[in-house]
């Protein structure tokens, strides 16, 4: 009577390969930046300003993706910018996930007054325009890596709280939860051993999505010059600079933009791919 679903070992899909591959490349690039970056990302050379990428005529050897208006190497700056982007993605993503998912789980499973308090907070929070809220926070906290991370956590925990709450509510209504309680489990124990494992695939998918969003928020803040100090290269900062000279040197804008796009896309695809693969119900 056992059906065939459990027997099939599905190959890792193209989606997981591509997104995982791109993110691995980024992590390696970020870790090895001092060794693999062809130039110093901060070194200016006004004689080499706005050199085009390597396949265009009139390029200077060694500057693969061209230079910006101050003669800084675009590839090197992207690589160093990756470090900041990934730190923000990992730290801010994880913190947001921990806080939001915990509150969502409690609200969805316990219901009653914890739910009422948490849900009202979520409602109030969502009435703020998120980017303006972040900019305001950074203005108050002062620019810097820690402020960016705090800003992202503060504006985005509601995403986790809402989704996890809904999921925990629907799982909480299932008979297996009642059975666990009849068997003498405490409510808290039931939440950890019965509800959490079933909400986990959703949390993982959301977490990867959130990492992509964190990268975007960091880029937005850099774009409006509110990220960390203006010297250190960030993707958003490069996009902001490239925007002013897009007609003379499109590559300064386009390469960081492509990197940003692929990264955010990879994060969300990785999450979906992992959910498909490891959710026991979908598998």
């Amino acid at each position: 009577m056992r059906d065939a679903r459990g027997e099939v070992r599905r190959p890792i899909g193209l989606r997981l390969w591509l997104s995982g591959g791109w993110l691995t490349l980024l992590v390696l690039g970020a870790l090895l930046a001092p060794w693999v970056a062809p130039k110093d990302p901060l070194m200016q050379d006004l004689f080499l300003g706005r050199m085009p990428p390597f396949w265009v005529a009139g390029t200077e050897p060694g500057y693969w993706l061209g230079t910006d208006s101050l003669g800084r190497d675009v590839l090197s700056r992207i690589l160093y910018g990756t470090r900041l982007a990934l730190i923000v993605a990992l730290v801010a993503g994880t913190l947001t996930c921990l806080i939001g998912a915990t509150l969502g789980l409690i609200a969805g499973y316990y219901r009653g007054w914890p739910d009422r308090i948490i849900s009202r907070f979520v409602d109030i929070w969502m009435a703020f325009p998120p980017v303006l809220f972040a900019i305001l926070l950074i203005a108050v906290l002062g620019p810097g890596l820690v402020s960016i991370i705090i800003a992202i956590v503060v504006i985005d925990w509601t995403r986790f709280a809402r989704v996890v709450r809904a999921e925990a509510m629907s799982q909480g209504a299932m008979d297996y939860v009642a059975s666990a309680q009849v068997a003498g489990r405490t409510r808290f124990g039931t939440m950890l051993t019965e509800i959490l494992p079933n909400v986990l695939p959703t949390i993982v998918a959301l977490l990867t999505l959130e990492m992509g969003i964190a990268v975007i928020v960091e880029a937005i803040l850099s774009f409006v010059n509110l990220s960390i100090s203006t010297d250190s290269p960030t993707w958003g900062g490069m996009i902001a600079e490239g925007r002013t000279s897009v007609h003379q040197a499109w590559w300064v804008l386009v390469f960081p933009l492509i990197t940003l796009f692929l990264t955010v896309l990879s994060f969300s695809q990785l999450g979906e791919g992992l959910k498909d693969r490891f959710d026991p119900v979908l598998r």
């Binding site: 009577m1 459990g6 009642a178 026991p280």
Partner: protein
């Protein structure tokens, strides 16, 4: 008559004030099967849930006593009550598709009860679980122990739930429409299985169902519930020979028989329904709701 499980004047209300159970009393004698029948919405499942302490949040017990093995559950502090229920009672749920945790393998879901309640070692519990799965006629129990619920059919899952309910040798099992979600062909096997297990383990069983045919096969005594009120309590044989309450009579008349599947189908007449509703209303007036 006073039983192993004895419910006295149990009243359950929605927090908004609507009465769900009206002063319900019933008894399940030691080692006997008591059927609880009624149409949908009568409050059958809520009685089971009130006993097991799993009532939905919107409901609360506003009066009465639930005596289980000589103790009034409702008078116990919350934690003691939960432990007492865990050690004495178990549930066979209605829907086998949602009653097993989808993210855990079958083995741990059965052994958990033994480890939690009886403090057995894991290996003892596993040996016992294998034995139980054999007892509920599951082929290749070792493999099923390692499976996830979604890899098994509904009938298989219901067998597993039965094995799991009997695992810690509870003295009372509440079966909440255990065959309703299954195919008719599987229903019969599951019913026979529950009846066999009940006799073999000497468990008291409260069997909640809307199906009088099912009741006639497995129960010793029964209560008929209408709109949250017990309208008749009887021994099996007497009930089918001489039902007393007009609603019981109408309910029996509405059950198809094997020899005459369509001819005997009579809906419960309007007059009976209004009479019962009048009775329930009078009850409410008497109890001041």
């Amino acid at each position: 008559m006073s039983g192993f499980l004895s419910i006295r004047n149990l009243t359950v209300r929605l927090k908004s004030g609507v009465t769900i159970l009206r002063s319900v009393s019933l008894d399940v004698a030691q080692g006997q099967v008591h059927g609880l029948v009624g149409e949908s919405g009568a409050g059958k499942s809520m009685i089971g849930k009130a006993v097991l302490g799993t009532l939905p949040r919107a409901l609360q017990v506003t009066g009465g006593e639930i005596w289980l093995d000589g103790e009034n559950l409702l008078a116990l502090p919350h934690d003691t009550r939960r432990k007492r229920i865990g050690a004495t009672a178990a549930l066979i749920p209605q829907d086998p598709l949602t009653a097993l945790n989808p993210s855990k393998r079958i083995g741990p879901q059965i052994t958990r009860r033994l480890v939690d309640i009886l403090a057995w070692t894991r290996s003892d519990a596993e040996a016992r679980a294998l034995e139980l799965l054999g007892e509920v006629q599951i082929p290749d129990p070792a493999r099923v122990m390692r499976s996830y619920p979604h890899e098994l059919s509904g009938g298989m899952r219901q067998r597993i739930l039965i094995a799991s309910a009997f695992a810690a040798e509870p003295k009372l099992i509440i079966a909440d429409e255990p065959t309703t979600a299954l195919d008719v062909t599987v229903q019969k096997q599951i019913l026979r299985l529950i009846a066999d297990m009940q006799v073999r383990h000497g468990t008291s069983l409260l069997f909640v169902t809307h199906d009088l045919g099912v009741v006639s096969k497995v129960c010793d005594t029964l209560s008929v519930l209408y709109a949250g009120k017990v309208v008749e309590e009887a021994r099996m044989h007497r009930f089918f020979m001489r039902p007393i309450h007009p609603y019981s009579r109408a309910l029996l008349a509405a059950t198809p028989t094997y020899l005459d599947p369509t001819g005997s189908l009579t809906p419960v007449p309007e007059s009976v329904i209004s009479a019962v509703e009048e009775e329930v209303r009078l009850h409410d007036v008497r109890f001041g709701t």
